[in-house]
């Protein structure tokens, strides 16, 4: 008798009698005996709440979380502040124990939130339309690449080497298996080499993907990229950090056709890499090529405003093998979290988070450079992340930082062999002067 299974033995007996079965075994007579497991699973005995709690806390004690460490690590996952409203509202089980709003009459909460989410993502990115979200940033980038290929009827994507390596890896997998081509364009002083891009782009290019702020935190100048992309009738896919849009020009203003990115910064905690939130927005012209769910506004039979999933004829359950994407769900709960986050922060709050992260990152950078042990890797305007290098092995630097309770930077050598000793640091609005001074202090005495 398990606490999550309400029916007692007596209930079960009554149900079996009603069916006309002697035992539960009768209900499995269609499973051939040679396929029966015929033994208990080797999982062990059920744990009580107390036992489970002790076990899980013991596991937690084998970790060092960022509640023990001062985090200067970013590279695609960020330690921004999460306002308390997020926790209190996102844990309402009317939200998280529901499923995809197939029955809109009893899902107006979820549907209106998706509509509000779409509105804010569209406005932030400067695009006409947004979908209801995707798994995460890297898969959103892959979906955008496939969407560009489908809508241009071309088979090649160019991606900049300044795009986060984690994203490029996922892109490679998706493209390879769909028999599409992915070409990487080189970089120059930490930004996309536009001259090289010009020499590679052709009438076979479906899309050009640029990240800004890019993997190194640098703000890319998209003016030339936009021109050459559109001259070749390819689509400009912009990968961006939504927090940065509090102060930076929106991709829509820069001429992007599709905007994707990682929405984890918008209120989702680090979660060791997931669940996160992929967002995807596009121009009106591409609305029907977007993958995933979309909520639309309509009226009910009484003329009352109501929301409903729309453009479903694009999706897998109708198009089956002709669908452009196999996605069936969205990251509903994370989209809810992002909505609560953006509503709580509002126009001014998001601007302030973006500005402070920038200001603090620049303070950390200046302090570090001043001491001369570490040199800037690039000389370009950056947002909340910056790359430095030194004569020291980056792993050794990080080890020293960890000893002082600091989670150091991303070791660039892992993805860029040419920057063997390079470190990418991230500074969010959460970091204090004291913490930054501690970082630069430890690094000075290495």
């Amino acid at each position: 008798m398990h606490r999550y299974i309400p029916n007692t033995e007596a209930d079960k007996r009554q149900m079996l009698d009603s069916i006309g079965a002697n035992s539960i075994e009768d209900l499995f007579e269609d499973v051939p005996s040679e396929l029966r497991l015929g033994r208990n699973l080797n999982i062990g005995e059920a744990l009580s709440e107390i036992e489970l709690s002790n076990h899980m806390n013991a596991l937690a004690n084998e970790n060092n979380s960022i509640s023990d460490l001062i985090c200067f690590l970013g590279a695609g996952a960020y330690d921004h502040h999460i306002p308390t409203t997020v926790k209190h509202l996102a844990t309402r089980s009317e939200f998280y124990t529901s499923y995809t709003p197939y029955q809109p009459e009893i899902s107006q909460g979820t549907l209106q939130i998706i509509f509000e989410y779409q509105t804010m993502i569209s406005n932030l990115t400067g695009m006409d339309v947004s979908n209801a979200s995707l798994y995460d940033g890297p898969t959103a980038a892959a979906e955008a690449a496939m969407m560009a290929c489908a809508s241009t009827k071309r088979k090649s994507i160019i991606v900049s080497k300044t795009v986060n390596p984690e994203i490029r890896k996922v892109l490679h997998t998706y493209m390879k298996f769909r028999d599409l081509e992915l070409i990487e364009v080189d970089m120059n002083d930490g930004v996309t080499d536009v001259e090289k891009l010009k020499s590679m782009i052709s009438k076979d290019t479906a899309g050009v993907m640029i990240q800004s702020p890019n993997f190194f935190g640098i703000i890319e100048d998209l003016t030339e990229v936009e021109k050459v992309t559109h001259e070749n009738k390819a689509l400009l896919i912009s990968y961006t950090d939504p927090i940065s849009l509090g102060i930076l020009k929106s991709p829509g203003e820069l001429g992007a056709d599709i905007v994707v990115g990682e929405g984890q910064s918008l209120g989702t905690n680090l979660n060791f890499g997931g669940p996160y939130l992929g967002f995807l927005a596009a121009t009106k012209k591409l609305a029907r090529k977007m993958p995933g769910r979309i909520a639309g506004q309509s009226l009910d039979v009484d003329g009352k405003r109501a929301f409903v999933l729309t453009l479903q004829a694009r999706e897998q359950h109708i198009r089956r093998y002709k669908a452009n994407s196999n996605i069936c769900s969205n990251q509903g709960l994370n989209a809810l979290i992002a909505t609560i986050y953006l509503v709580t922060m509002g126009k001014e709050g998001l601007r302030e988070v973006a500005a402070r992260s920038t200001q603090k990152a620049h303070y950390a950078f200046e302090e570090l450079i001043k001491k001369r042990k570490f040199k800037p890797l690039f000389n370009k305007p950056f947002f909340k992340e910056f790359a430095v290098t030194s004569e020291f092995d980056s792993r050794m630097v990080n080890k020293a930082l960890l000893k002082s309770g600091i989670l150091g930077g991303y070791e660039l050598g892992k993805a860029y062999p040419q920057y063997k000793n390079g470190l990418l640091f991230c500074v969010t609005e959460k970091r204090t002067k004291e913490e930054i001074d501690k970082l630069t202090g430890v690094m000075e005495v290495i």
């Binding site: 960022i66 499923y99 339309v129 028999d179 849009l245 997931g274 729309t310 359950h317 998001l350």
Partner: protein, 485 residues
Amino acid sequence: MREYNSLIFEVSREGRKAYSLPKCELCEDEINEIIPEEFLRTSDSKLPEVSEVDVIRHFTNLSNKNYGVDTGFYPLGSCTMKYNPKINEDMAGILGLNSIHPYQPAETIQGSLKLMYDLDKMLAEISGMDRITLQPAAGAHGELTGLMIIKAYHQNRGDLKRKKIIVPDSAHGTNPATAAVAGFDIVEIKSDDNGAVDIEALKRVLDDEVAGLMLTNPSTLGLFETNIKVIADLVHEAGGLLYYDGANMNAIVGITRPGDMGFDVMHFNLHKTFSTPHGGGGPGSGPVGVKEHLVKFLPVPVIEKKDDKFVLDYDRSESIGKVKGFYGNYGMMVRAYSYILTMGSEGLREMSETAVLNANYMMNKLKEHYHLPIKQVCKHEFVLGGLEETSLEVSTLDIAKRLLDYGYHPPTIYFPLIVSEAMMVEPTETESLETIDAFIDTMIKIAGEAKENPDLLKTAPHNTPVRRIDEVRAARQLIVKWEDE
């Protein structure tokens, strides 16, 4: 209660705020002194401006317009809307488990890696597979990963002509869509009269171009594919592989295993079988299990144990690569791991047995009033084909909408496609006899209403926050964001 119909943008008033940030001594430099003007935003972000109490009331009111498993019975077939135990949420909220950056050094994440390693082992034991990747983010994503592995397997053997994936016509739409995204051609085969794979039809399409067959067992009709061994042998003899869609796994845990049925690769839905909440549409989690001959193709990284330490192993030359950022929906893994531990071996078997008992009990009671196309013992769910009296002009949609009036989430409707007016009912094991009986009584009452007052059904629902919505208008006008008039 007062009806709440505002969008947050309509609540917004200039100058209000709901956030707080500390004083900043490092923030004296103006942004335009740090970043060149041409990069700075000039357009309005149009985010709302509201106070904290506005935020709380807005979302609380919206939550009241939603229906979740915690609200009531949710027999949505193929989605396994079982109760989501609260302790799992608490465990996923432990700071030492969730406030972990994905790029932290291995020595600081041993607890999380151990959890994932052990979950891999548990899922392997439950499924009869040899190794699991936890990276895929959802069922459809698991399917994609699995099919990539199948493709890699054939390519690795130099067998390049295998371009076809066989999918039964009863399959979920994701199966063919996924096969297309993975770069395969799709061959659909008809089901036999019992909704099972038609062996003769299968034989006709099996040739040396077949890469694999995708199947759920129990099938989407909720029936066990008794011939599964024969099917597996046929596909294997033709050189293809078998893919198991784990959507219906809630019927078989502790009883039979996909690995023992002959499947080579499969996905799990942690958000179905293993109780992680559906989140209003996600996040899910779709781990993929494989047999030994496919382990080398699993996505990177794979968690390995070396000298008693857990490490993320990226050095795998034949891997398909990465399918998602980082390591998967880890937060969901923590919940599923907690669930498996709190169920134990016996609890898991009782879970499947009770799910099957509940479904058979309901099917038996409802078959007098609704059309049951295939009369045999079902597994965790069953499919009805609308009302028994087909002359009535009441559709499955009308019945579903009427259920809303009685406070229920309706079953899955119009799926599988091979049953007309389909209603797919999955009670799960977490519902009591009283709940199930009350639902059965309501369904019988609705069948009566269909005869006596069909308009009541055709105009339903009557007492929900909104009534039937004009979907044609939504698609034609395409208003997908709020705009200030």
